[in-house]
């Protein structure tokens, strides 16, 4: 792929991050007013736009750090390799999924989870080397999406059945569990416990969540 497309995509994601990350934008505006009040002649509008630019650029910079580390480790000569540009883009896309606002968050997480699988369609050897990295990002994106959609979606790892809920004590197969993160508040609530499916004796792992009438012993 032509390098120009990478640059356009990186700039696009940076721009979106700067436009819609309201909390970071507010944080930047406040600090611009404190630390650099004279830079834009005290104009609030210009300060707001400049703060948005700061947030956009900061996300692009943060996204570029793993790519730069990758380049230093592999020693890719004078120019960035295509893999490092992909890493840069994937990191930015992941940041695009990290939301600070409820409304835009789901859209962003959705776009991230659509965009990132495109990375996997590339079958080059170079991309296979970094597939674990992309898979890691994708897993986080899916976990993020699940969290936002109220766990109505199910993550189905290859070769394993789709399991929406697992009883307490069993290994958590969800991406959050795989990453060692906490599960959702509903699943970890002490007032909820699992009951085996009565139609299938001995099918405890396919248990359903029920509200406990008394605290579990």
């Amino acid at each position: 792929m032509d390098r120009q497309y990478y640059y356009i995509a990186i700039a696009f994601f940076g721009m979106i991050n700067g436009l819609f990350n309201q909390v970071a934008l507010l944080f930047a505006v406040l600090h611009m007013q404190i630390l650099a009040p004279a830079l834009l002649f005290g104009s609030t509008g210009l300060t707001l736009m400049f703060s948005s630019l700061m947030v956009s650029t900061a996300t692009i910079i943060l996204g570029g750090i793993p790519a730069a580390i990758y380049e230093r480790i592999t020693g890719t000569g004078e120019e960035s390799s295509e893999v490092s540009l992909w890493i840069w883009l994937a990191r930015l896309a992941r940041m695009f999924g990290v939301s600070s606002s409820k409304n835009a968050g789901s859209i962003r997480a959705g776009v991230s989870s659509i965009f990132l699988p495109i990375c996997f369609h590339r079958k080059d050897r170079l991309f296979q080397r970094t597939s674990q990295y992309f898979e890691h990002i994708l897993t986080i994106c899916i976990a993020d999406l699940r969290h936002r959609c109220g766990s109505r979606l199910t993550y189905k790892p290859l070769g394993e059945p789709a399991i929406s809920r697992w009883p307490r004590g069993c290994r958590n197969p969800t991406p959050r569990g795989l990453l060692g993160l906490r599960t959702g508040s509903r699943a970890s609530s002490p007032r909820l416990r699992h009951r085996a499916d009565p139609r299938r004796p001995g099918s405890a792992p396919r248990g359903r969540l029920v509200r406990a009438s008394h605290p579990p012993s």
Binding site: L35, I61, G64, A68, G77, S80
Partner: protein, 101 residues
């Protein structure tokens, strides 16, 4: 951060001033770079380059190599701004600065 507190809180103002000077000089380098050749012997340009080269080298180490020099300079401005924010919050966290009431 009034002027009266300048001497009382010199330990914050001094690094903040150095970072701000670097940030604005880097911004000046970006603007001057639009009209001056990279190998110009203009003394202002040479001063800007000499003063900000350590920052550019540090920022270049954590920036992909495809980024053009002017982009690295602009990244340096942003890095320095967020470093100033970090410095401010570090001092506020340790109670070394008066809180705004």
């Amino acid at each position: 951060m009034s002027g009266g507190s300048l001497y009382s809180y010199w330990y914050f103002h001094l690094p903040n001033f150095v970072l701000a000077a670097l940030m604005y000089t880097l911004l000046g380098r970006v603007l001057l770079g639009l009209i001056v050749q990279p190998d110009s012997s203009n003394y202002i340009w040479r001063f800007f380059c000499r003063f900000t080269d350590p920052v550019v080298a540090a920022v270049g180490a954590v920036t992909p190599k495809d980024a053009a020099p002017v982009v690295v300079w602009l990244f340096g401005v942003v890095w320095l701004f967020w470093l100033r924010v970090l410095l401010l919050h570090a001092f506020l966290y340790f109670g070394a600065l008066p809180r705004v009431t």
